[in-house]
């Protein structure tokens, strides 16, 4: 017998009682004639009970159920609109899943190589003027990956210069060698931090933007439209983005180097190194190879960021969820690429004695 007001808070109690009942019997009669208030808790419980008793070969009889409850139950027990799909594997560690994941990693690597090849062909054609690249697309991408980024690059690189200076000053002070802060900041910025920090910022900014733009175009069928108009999307969309970033990155890195060294000068000043002393020390410390190592890193990083961003965008799923995945993918992949490439270049320079 269910009487009176039945809502969510009474569920647990009723559930326990019915479980005890259900274990023993195959034919259950529930008298609902005095049921006044009820919500989906009661209905869902009755639905489950109906299914359980039916599965056990018994039957559930509802007496005096309110018409709304009866209608809802009959709607829910009607033939399902869609036959449930074939069994869906849920296990975290079953064999096929591991195999699929491994295959996906392999495919991902092969796709990356394929994309790199296609991008290189498109680049070559664009540079030689045979591609379908448009000046406006190139200018737009250049603005986005150049002037538009100056503010944030200024902030990050000045701060990184100051951090380097503080880090060095704390150690160098013990030996009374504060003046060498200039060497540390200059070489640190030129060889390493200028390029790497700019690249990380650009990966989060421009790489992600590339991925978002291209995957949105994928979802809007713009890329399909471009392809069926006889335009190669690699030349039309990807090549200008790579060229823009490769052209802008070295400039941004030079800008970052200057601001980083200036940031270092501020900190050095607070330790009693005058700007003039700092400058003189700088002249002695800075040499062309340091600068060139940083610049070549900038070019390499630009290619990696642009490729990772464009690939994530071009291979995104054709829906709005794909856009989110593509941007995340672009940032994660390019940061990983950057750090691996940076380590590689440093080892190479070490071996070659630059």
């Amino acid at each position: 017998m269910l009487r009176g007001d039945w809502r969510a808070d009474a569920y647990d109690d009723l559930d326990t009682q019915l479980k005890a009942l259900n274990a023993a019997s195959t034919k259950i009669t529930v008298d609902l004639s005095d049921l006044e208030q009820f919500d989906s808790t009661v209905t869902s419980l009755l639905l489950r009970l109906t299914r359980q008793t039916a599965a056990a070969g018994g039957s559930l009889i509802l007496e005096g159920a309110p018409p709304t409850l009866e209608r809802m139950l009959s709607l829910a027990t009607a033939v399902p609109l869609h036959a449930p799909p074939a069994e869906k594997k849920a296990g975290l560690f079953d064999g096929t899943r591991v195999r699929n994941e491994l295959a996906a990693i392999g495919d991902g690597f092969l796709n990356s190589l394929g994309f790199l090849g296609e991008a290189m062909i498109a680049l070559l054609r664009s540079i030689t003027g045979r591609g379908s690249m448009r000046a406006r697309e190139l200018l737009g991408a250049s603005y986005q990956s150049g002037p538009d980024a100056l503010g944030i690059i200024a902030l990050t690189s000045a701060l990184v210069g100051m951090i380097l200076a503080y880090l060095g000053a704390a150690q160098l002070q013990q030996f009374g060698a504060e003046i060498y802060v200039a060497d540390l900041v200059a070489i640190g910025m030129l060889r390493e931090m200028g390029a790497l920090m700019t690249a990380v910022v650009m990966a989060g900014r421009t790489g992600a933007a590339y991925a978002a733009q291209l995957s949105t175009m994928q979802a809007n069928e713009e890329i399909d439209a471009i392809r069926t108009l006889g335009i190669n999307p690699m030349e039309f969309l990807v090549a200008p983005r790579i060229i823009a970033l490769v052209a802008m990155m070295p400039l941004l890195v030079i800008f970052a180097d200057v601001l980083g060294i200036a940031g270092g000068a501020l900190v050095a000043g607070s330790m009693g190194v005058t700007p003039l002393q700092y400058l003189v020390q700088l002249q002695a410390a800075v040499s062309l190879p340091h600068f060139l190592v940083g610049l070549s890193k900038a070019l390499l990083f630009a290619v990696l960021i642009a490729i990772a961003g464009c690939r994530a965008g071009m291979t995104a799923g054709r829906n709005s969820a794909g856009v989110g995945r593509a941007t995340t993918d672009a940032v994660v992949t390019s940061v990983v690429y950057l750090i691996i490439a940076d380590a590689g270049v440093n080892i190479l320079c070490q071996q070659l004695g630059f």
């Binding site: 609109l81 175009m217 108009l229």
Partner: protein
């Protein structure tokens, strides 16, 4: 009307990896047809269109345009065929970074047969045909959904195509806009003599303009009916097709 087939699909099987979408699809689109590909959600209508456009490759079977086998054609050969087509995508497919005029001009520039002045005039004509002359300078994001579809249609007819493809042209449009779009499609078809292939599940469009159709069944993953839609509604031996076309849902019919 001539009875020459412009598109012949033979024994086409479409699959994403191991998942088969439709199998053994066979039909002909005749010159001058307004041909509708219909079926319930998820039956593979849009996938079939993407196969016809060469954006997806079939698992098995042939797609012939005239006597040219599209499935084995190289990309330049496909491109030569596509020059004779106009395509409007479900979401329009306008390039969002370009204005309406630049979008319509794109195929003309790509074809490379006209100078800038001619292109400007042709763009104005095509936009006037779809009722959008004066909107040249607008970006796709700045105009309404119905206008975007019209602008996409203007781009599709830029090169005076032989075949027009539509992917759910009335999706997301109100009944009046969608009716206007249907009327426009018929008018354009009559003036240009193009054949029209359309993916849709909108009954007013199907009965209003189609003279030939196929029905793709999601349950059996096969094309189960072909012919004139009104004939199909009254005479199809498949209950699903009759129910689909008369908008009836029964318990077992709804399963498919």
């Amino acid at each position: 009307m001539e009875t020459e087939a412009v598109i012949s699909v033979r024994d086409l099987t479409m699959a994403y990896g191991p998942r088969v979408i439709q199998q053994e699809v066979t039909f002909d689109v005749m010159r001058g047809d307004i041909f509708v590909i219909m079926g319930g959600s998820g039956c593979g209508k849009s996938s079939l269109l993407k196969h016809l456009l060469g954006l997806l490759n079939p698992a098995r079977g042939q797609i012939l345009f005239g006597d040219q086998d599209f499935t084995t054609a190289t990309e330049p050969e496909r491109q030569a065929l596509r020059k004779r087509w106009g395509i409007t995508y479900q979401s329009g497919g306008l390039i969002s970074a370009m204005t309406v005029a630049e979008n319509v001009a794109l195929p003309l520039e790509q074809a490379g047969q006209h100078n800038a002045d001619e292109i400007r005039d042709i763009v104005a004509l095509k936009l006037a045909l779809v009722g959008l002359d004066g909107y040249q300078g607008y970006l796709p994001a700045e105009i309404s959904g119905g206008m975007r579809k019209r602008a996409a249609l203007a781009r599709a007819i830029a090169l005076d195509p032989d075949i027009l493809f539509f992917d759910e042209p009335s999706a997301g449009l109100d009944p009046i806009s969608s009716r206007r779009l249907d009327d426009l499609i018929v008018q354009l078809k009559e003036t240009t003599g193009a054949s029209v292939v359309m993916v849709t599940h909108e009954l007013p469009s199907i009965f209003g303009i189609a003279n030939n159709a196929i029905y793709l069944d999601a349950g059996t993953r096969r094309m189960i009916e072909t012919g004139d839609p009104s004939w199909m509604r009254d005479n199809s031996e498949h209950a699903v097709v009759r129910q689909f076309l008369s908008r009836e849902a029964t318990q077992d019919g709804a399963c498919e």
